[in-house]
C-alpha cells in the first residue's frame, strides 16, 4: 500500500440540489451534491458550494476545506472537503 495525494480538481459527472435533508444537514438546505470524477480517475460524492442555478454537468471543480457538521453547539466539529467551481482549473 502506498499513500497517494490527489490534486483534488475534477469534473462534475452528475448533481442534485437537496431541498429536504436529514436532521444533521437540514440547516444547509438547499445545497448541491455531486458525483465528481477526480482528474486522476476515481469518483467520489461531495457538496459543491455555489448557487444551484450555476451547477452544470461537466463543470470543473476544485477542493475547499470546510465544516461538514457539528454535534450540537458544544460538540465535536467535523471538517472535510467540499468543492467549489473552478472554471480556470486545468
Amino acid at each position: 500500500m502506498e499513500e497517494h495525494r490527489f490534486r483534488g480538481t475534477g469534473t462534475v459527472i452528475t448533481y442534485t440540489t437537496i431541498y429536504s435533508a436529514t436532521e444533521d444537514f437540514e440547516r444547509l438546505t438547499p445545497y448541491n451534491l455531486a458525483i465528481i470524477q477526480l482528474d486522476e480517475g476515481p469518483k467520489l460524492t461531495g457538496q459543491v458550494v455555489c448557487a444551484p442555478e450555476n451547477m452544470k454537468i461537466g463543470m470543473r471543480v476544485r477542493p475547499v476545506f470546510r465544516i461538514l457538521g457539528k454535534e450540537g453547539e458544544r460538540g465535536i466539529i467535523y471538517y472535510g472537503t467540499k468543492f467549489a467551481p473552478a472554471d480556470d482549473a486545468p
Binding site: 452528475t14 440540489t17 436532521e23 469518483k43 467520489l44 460524492t45
Partner: protein, 387 residues
C-alpha cells in the same frame, strides 16, 4: 434442489398504522398467511423475517425471536431468523426461505417482512434510511436517498433524453394501479401536473416522485412443490430466485445510470427459469423513486437501455400493456415499509397468478416477476413465479 411453491400469502393494509405496533403487524399478516395456507404451527419448520431497521425505527432488535414469540410459536422452538439488506430485506427473506426448502433442509417455511416507520419524525426516518447508503463516503458529505436517485435521474435525462414528464408518468400509473388495491397507502389518482408542481426534494425529484414512509407487514408460506397441492388448490411455483451485489456507493459503479446488481440478478433468474423478459406478464419492480422504475424496466430487460421513459409514456407498462408493472401501486402508491416490500411484491404476484387481484387483475397472467433493490443498487433480488 427441490422445486418450491408458495402455498399461502398475507399482507396488512399499508399506511400510517398508528393503531398497530411492529409486533401487531407481523401477527396480523402471519395469521392471514397461515390461514390461507391451511397449515398448523406444528407444521412450520423455520421462519425468516426481513426487517431493515427495527432498532432505529422502534428501538427493537432481535426481531426473529420476537415474531416467533408473538406468532404463538415460542413453545415450539422453531428457528427464526431476521435478515437485512436495507430495502431488499424482504426479498432476501424470501430467498433464504426458498433456499431452506429447495435444499431439503426444511419443508414448510414462512418468509415475512415488516417495517414500522411512522413512530419517528421524518428527519430521523430519512437518516435511518440513509444508512443503506455508504455512511463514510456518501452520507457524511450530506447525501440523502432521494439525492442519490436524483443524480441517477439527472444523468439518465441527459444521456437518453428521458423527460421530466416521463418520470411523472411512473407515479401517475402507479397511483392509478394503487387506487384499485385495497391494501394500498394511497387511493388517490394523480396527474402529471400534480407531480411536476409538487415540492422539490432533490432536484429533479419532487415529493410525488418519492415512495412514502409506511407501516406494514407481509408473509408468504413456502412448501416443496410435490406436496404443495395438499395445502392449496393453486400453488404458485417459484421458478427462479437470484441475488446480486454491487458497490455500496453510487459513485463507484461501472455506470451510474444502470443498476448492474439488477442486470446480473435478472440474467441469473431468467437462466434458471429458462425464460426471457418477453415471457413475463406481470412484474412488481422497485420504484422507490420514479427513476427507479425506469431503471428497473430497462435493467430487467423489458426495454432497451434508455427507452424506459418512452415505454412508460406510451402505456406499455400499464395493465393491458406489454408487461403490467407494479399492479399493486408499487412502492410509490401501495407504500414502502422497507423490510416488508419484497414480500408484498410476492404477495401481489401470487394474487395476480391465482386470478384474485380484483379490479387490477391482469388477464391470463401466468408468469410474474419480483424485483427488490437494497440501497441505491448495492443489492438486488429477482424472483420469477409461475401459475
Amino acid at each position: 434442489m427441490r422445486a418450491v411453491s408458495i402455498i399461502g400469502v398475507g399482507c396488512t393494509r399499508f399506511g400510517e398504522r398508528w393503531d398497530s405496533s411492529l409486533r401487531d403487524l407481523v401477527v396480523e399478516t402471519g395469521i392471514a398467511a397461515i390461514e390461507d395456507a391451511g397449515v398448523t404451527g406444528e407444521a412450520i419448520d423455520a421462519l425468516y423475517v426481513g426487517n431493515m431497521s427495527g432498532g432505529r425505527f422502534v428501538e427493537q432488535e432481535h426481531i426473529g425471536a420476537l415474531i416467533a414469540d408473538y406468532a404463538g410459536l415460542s413453545r415450539l422452538h422453531i428457528p427464526s431468523t431476521r435478515v437485512e439488506a436495507a430495502c431488499a430485506s424482504g426479498g432476501l427473506a424470501l430467498r433464504e426461505a426458498f433456499l431452506a426448502v429447495a435444499s431439503g433442509y426444511a419443508d414448510i417455511v414462512i418468509a415475512a417482512g415488516v417495517e414500522k416507520m411512522t413512530d419517528v419524525s421524518s428527519g430521523v426516518a430519512a437518516d435511518a434510511l440513509a444508512a443503506a447508503a455508504d455512511r463514510e463516503w456518501e452520507c457524511f458529505f450530506g447525501a440523502t436517498f432521494p439525492a442519490l436517485y436524483a443524480m441517477i435521474a439527472r444523468l439518465h435525462m441527459r444521456r437518453y433524453g428521458t423527460t421530466r414528464e416521463q418520470l411523472a408518468q411512473v407515479a401517475v400509473k402507479n397511483h392509478h394501479h394503487g387506487h384499485m388495491n385495497p391494501i394500498a397507502q394511497y387511493h388517490t389518482e394523480i396527474k402529471v401536473e400534480d407531480v411536476v408542481s409538487s415540492p422539490l426534494v432533490a432536484d429533479p425529484l419532487r415529493v410525488l416522485d418519492c415512495s412514502p414512509i409506511t407501516d406494514g407487514a407481509a408473509a408468504v408460506v413456502l412448501a416443496p412443490s410435490d406436496i404443495a397441492s395438499r395445502y392449496c388448490d393453486t400453488p404458485i411455483r417459484i421458478l427462479a430466485s437470484a441475488q446480486a451485489s454491487d458497490s455500496l456507493a453510487l459513485h463507484d459503479r461501472r455506470d451510474i445510470t444502470t443498476l448492474d446488481a439488477t442486470v446480473y440478478a435478472a440474467k441469473k433468474a431468467f437462466a434458471q427459469a429458462r425464460l426471457t423478459p418477453e415471457d413475463i406478464d406481470v412484474a412488481e419492480v422497485h420504484d422507490c423513486f420514479t427513476i427507479g422504475e425506469i431503471l428497473a424496466i430497462e435493467d430487467l430487460g423489458f426495454f432497451p437501455k434508455g427507452e424506459g421513459g418512452a415505454a412508460t409514456e406510451e402505456g406499455r407498462t400499464a395493465i393491458g400493456g406489454d408487461v403490467a408493472v407494479n399492479t399493486s401501486g408499487g412502492l410509490k402508491a401501495c407504500g414502502h415499509p422497507v423490510g416488508a416490500t419484497g414480500i408484498k411484491q410476492a404477495y401481489e404476484i401470487v394474487l395476480q397468478l391465482r386470478g384474485e387481484a380484483g379490479r387490477r387483475q391482469v388477464d391470463d397472467a401466468e408468469i410474474g416477476l419480483t424485483h427488490n433493490v437494497g440501497g441505491s443498487g448495492g443489492t438486488a433480488l429477482v424472483h420469477i413465479l409461475s401459475r
